[in-house]
């Protein structure tokens, strides 16, 4: 076999294994999907959004029957449609938004979690993906489209501004809005696009401008780019939206686009890992991936034989940290569409060096090559995380067939949102 078919086999295996997460952790009674494979994990609404987005991929690849995908999607959408929207402490949502974490069985709020704007956006992006894919005339597919539309239209984006210029990060029934909003470039771009496409409750017309006013265009390691430290920021919105060649006013001014920007973010990650300023084990230009991921904070401090501050789940960031030597293999793979050759080489190198990062062919949330136990094993985050499997599935698929990008290019709400945000050019 040549390198190309080798790559294809490798990617097919990873993508299929990643998809398997959703099939294994979904509650078929309500469509909710577990945040992680760990015992007692609740549902994360963002993971449901990823699930809704990857069911069509699985159908096209022959890993799942269309009927099963439709059934799982419908069950989830019906659940959210019928859920308690009172905003009470044990409801499911409020004003069209949903609490971040829900009980897998009852679908009610757990962990006193916040009503999450970004996680609702990821859920709704999944619902719209589903509605774009199930275009058939059957009653069930028609019902799915109607519900997805209802869920989208009932989100009160204006309310989520709490009278301010930008969208807040969350709200709690006990204490109201979290008193901070989005600042700086982040994964929130899909949130703003969805909000701005709303025909029912759009945010103020200056919202996007107010958000991008917090952007910072930087020259770092010789790269000019819109700065954000953790890699997932440069990936999540790209799972649904094809940013190649389309530009908002900020990117027009900078003569770049968000896709190219993610390419620069990879360059910066590689340069940081090559320089390895904190001297962590394993880092080099073919072994990187600082992002939001699990961490070894609970690891036995003696195993490493060194004093170091360790973090739990945290948004690890380049170049100013936090960085505790923990990398995410999936974060490299989820960069595939931006730099296929570089990422393939990186993916192969990382797995060859640290095969433990894969279990059942599926990426762990993270690993730390500098933390080695008495048996000589590096620290690996136990189990799997739904967000990681979702972004891996979608970005590999976008690399292979661009099928999700193509679907969403036709989504009228996405198109309207992009246009209202000032995007022009390219496929738009």
């Amino acid at each position: 076999m040549n390198d190309e078919s080798n790559d294809e086999d490798l990617l097919d295996g990873i993508e299929r294994a990643a998809f398997g997460y959703f099939r294994e952790t979904v509650n078929r009674a309500n469509g909710l999907v577990a945040d992680t494979t760990r015992e007692g994990s609740p549902c994360s609404i963002a993971v449901v959004g990823f699930a809704l987005s990857v069911y069509p991929v699985a159908v096209e690849r022959g890993w799942m029957q269309r009927e099963e995908a439709l059934e799982l999607s419908l069950v989830a959408l019906r659940f959210f449609r019928d859920s308690d929207q009172s905003g009470s402490t044990d409801a499911t949502g409020h004003k069209g938004f949903y609490y971040h974490f829900l009980d897998m069985q009852s679908g009610t709020r757990v962990w006193r979690s916040e009503l999450s704007m970004i996680d609702t956006a990821l859920l709704i992006a999944g619902a719209l993906t589903s509605s774009m894919y199930f275009f058939g005339e059957t009653a069930l597919e028609a019902e799915l489209r109607v519900i997805a539309d209802q869920l989208y239209r009932r989100i009160d984006w204006r309310w989520s501004q709490n009278g301010g210029a930008t969208i807040m990060q969350g709200w709690k029934p006990e204490s109201g809005f979290l008193h901070y909003g989005w600042e700086g470039y982040s994964e929130g771009i899909v949130l703003y696009v969805l909000a701005l496409g709303s025909p029912t409750h759009p945010p103020g017309h200056d919202t996007y401008k107010a958000w991008t006013a917090t952007y910072q265009w930087e020259n770092l390691y010789g790269c000019d780019f819109l700065f954000a430290g953790p890699l997932f920021i440069h990936q999540f919105s790209h799972a649904w939206i094809d940013f190649r060649g389309i530009r908002d006013p900020f990117m027009r001014e900078k003569r770049s686009d968000y896709f190219e920007n993610s390419q620069r973010a990879i360059d910066v990650q590689r340069e940081y890992a090559r320089g390895n300023p904190r001297g962590f084990a394993g880092y080099d230009e073919d072994c990187w991936g600082l992002t939001a991921c699990d961490g070894p904070s609970d690891a036995d401090p003696d195993v490493s034989g060194e004093q170091r501050r360790l973090f739990g789940y945290a948004a690890r960031s380049v170049p100013f940290g936090p960085d505790d030597g923990t990398l995410a293999g999936w974060a490299a793979v989820a960069s595939l569409p931006f730099a296929p050759e570089t990422v393939m080489k990186t993916a192969r190198t990382m797995v060859a060096r640290y095969p433990a990062m894969l279990s059942d062919g599926r990426y762990a949330s993270s690993f730390n090559p500098g933390l080695i136990d008495m048996h000589g094993n590096i620290w690996v985050s136990p189990g799997h995380y739904g967000l990681d499997q979702g972004i891996v599935t979608m970005m590999i698929e976008n690399h292979r067939t661009q099928s999700i990008w193509k679907l969403m290019r036709s989504c009228p709400y996405i198109v309207a949102g992009l246009r209202n945000a000032g995007f022009r050019g390219g496929w738009l």
């Binding site: 952007y215 770092l220 000019d224 170049p319 100013f320």
Partner: protein
């Protein structure tokens, strides 16, 4: 009213350094002079602004009256920059001892913090610096120094304890005082501010610092390094909310390394005293917690001193929040009266007080037209690492529609920072569009306060990155990061076309 924690504050009455300082800044045997018939400049408040204006005006031959309610030198000398930097230095040294192995040295076997010695050193140095501000030195420079409460009695007169001073021009430089957070039970429990914290002679075992601004951050880190179990509560997602996000992130990491208990997004909602302990209730969103401490230090901002001056009688407009209202020439609503320093400025720093006083001397006495808005003002928070800034922030530039590009040099790219083991930091220089014009900069480094001066000079002298790239910086220095940023700007000018032309030229020259 603020309450001091008497249990922790016991400077001996016979402390030689304190006696010297007080002899300089408030001599017990001082007799106010007989007022002149009329003063060129009457100054209310003898902090940095008042002292500078008094020396400058008297040096130029003006008849000057300087009225001080409490201590010459103001907050900066007595309860601000001077004492705080002295104890920060000692706290840095203890941290250095604990981390000696990071520098290839042995950690001393018995690191015992001698807090009284640190405070004694501070008092010694403060007394030494107070010599420059001594009342007798001012008097010998020709300044009439009055101690007492000043109140305006008309458009061109003020009263000092019953004595009338007539003036041609006056300057209000009464400074500011710590704001008191509105927390139920705080006053009853007793708390420290910058006005009282430097009187401590014993280290509180457990300290809670309210407020993540510059003062709160600096002192929280110092107390932590002295060995107090220190908690800092900040009602925002990050410290130093006005600063660059990355700077605040690095500071948060540094605090965590120090072992500071960092409580972000946390509001102090109540204080109780039980069994001699202060119990502080915190709320973060909907999570409540209680911290037991021995001392509470507040650092939540400063309010201008504008009360008890009878400003109405002089026709000077003011409010309690902004202080004395001034125009760009630092003139108040009474054209005879100017203001300078914390009493009227947004940026409450010693060096802005100093700069504003220079403006007042020129504008008030010599028909000058110097503008406050023309100043380029740097500032620095003296945590470890330090965080300094000058010019505008990116978000301000964006809001004003100015295209801005930032040249970022992490200190882990700078040899001297690597050799010093001080790589947690950066130099960020903001330029306008594709030009080399510097709009502002933020530096996070061990001595960021020193490094920012180069950028300030460049901005004041209209020197751009193109020229800075030609400035030879001594190797190895951490300031080389500034030249590296300038080099990055230079490389950006090298377009593909220019690269092709250069390559063709060099081929031809082979």
């Amino acid at each position: 009213m603020m309450q001091q924690d008497d249990k922790l504050s016991t400077i001996p009455e016979n402390d030689a350094d304190e006696r010297e300082r007080l002899r300089n800044v408030r001599p017990a045997d001082w007799r106010n002079p007989t007022p002149a018939r009329r003063y060129n400049l009457a100054i209310v408040g003898a902090g940095p602004a008042g002292l500078l204006a008094a020396h400058a005006a008297a040096g130029l031959g003006a008849k000057v009256a300087l009225v001080e309610r409490e201590w010459l030198g103001g907050d900066c000398l007595n309860i601000g920059c001077v004492p705080s930097k002295a104890i920060l230095r000692t706290s840095r040294l203890y941290e250095g001892m604990r981390n000696a192995d990071h520098y290839g040295a042995r950690v001393p076997g018995d690191i015992r913090v001698d807090f009284p010695a640190a405070m004694q050193r501070m008092r010694d140095l403060r007394a030494r610096i107070s010599r420059d501000d001594a009342a007798r030195r001012l008097a010998s420079a020709g300044v009439d120094v009055f101690f007492g409460d000043a109140r305006f009695s008309g458009a061109d007169t003020l009263m000092v304890d019953g004595t009338t001073l007539r003036f041609s021009r006056a300057m209000i430089a009464t400074g500011a005082r710590p704001d008191t957070p509105d927390v139920p039970g705080l006053v009853e429990a007793g708390f420290l501010t910058n006005e009282t914290v430097f009187d401590l002679t014993q280290l509180p075992r457990r300290v809670l610092v309210i407020g993540g601004g510059p003062l709160g951050c600096e002192l929280a880190q110092a107390f932590c390094r002295f060995g107090a179990r220190t908690t800092i509560a900040q009602d925002m997602p990050l410290f130093l909310p006005k600063e660059e996000r990355d700077a605040a992130q690095i500071l948060s990491d540094a605090f965590a390394r120090d072992g500071l208990d960092v409580r972000l997004n946390s509001k102090v909602v109540g204080v109780r005293v039980e069994n001699g302990e202060k119990l502080v209730d915190l709320v973060s969103d909907d999570y409540k917690s209680t911290v037991a401490v021995d001392a509470i230090l507040t650092g939540v901002g400063r309010v201008p001193n504008v009360d008890d001056l009878d400003l109405e009688k002089a026709g000077v407009e003011y409010d309690d929040e902004m202080g004395v209202h001034v125009d760009d020439f630092l003139r108040t609503s009474n054209p005879r009266i100017y203001a300078a320093g914390d009493a009227c400025l947004e940026h409450k720093f010693t060096h802005t007080a100093d700069a504003s006083a220079r403006i007042v001397v020129q504008n008030a006495l010599f028909l000058g037209r110097k503008r406050l808005s023309a100043l380029t003002v740097p500032w620095c928070t003296y945590t470890d690492p330090e965080i300094s800034h000058v010019g505008i922030y990116v978000r301000q530039a964006n809001a004003r529609g100015i295209e801005v590009k930032t040249f970022t040099v992490p200190l882990h790219e700078v040899d001297r920072a690597i050799l010093d083991g001080e790589t947690d930091g950066f130099v960020k220089i903001h330029t306008e569009g594709d030009s080399d014009r510097i709009l502002g900069a933020t530096i996070v480094a061990e001595h960021a306060g020193e490094m920012i001066n180069e950028i300030t000079l460049a901005m004041v002298a209209n020197i751009g990155l193109r020229t800075l790239a030609q400035v030879i910086h001594a190797y190895p220095t951490q300031a080389e990061a500034i030249r590296k940023a300038a080099d990055a700007w230079n490389r950006g000018r090298l377009t593909p076309r220019m690269q092709r032309l250069a390559a063709a030229w060099l081929r031809w020259r082979r």
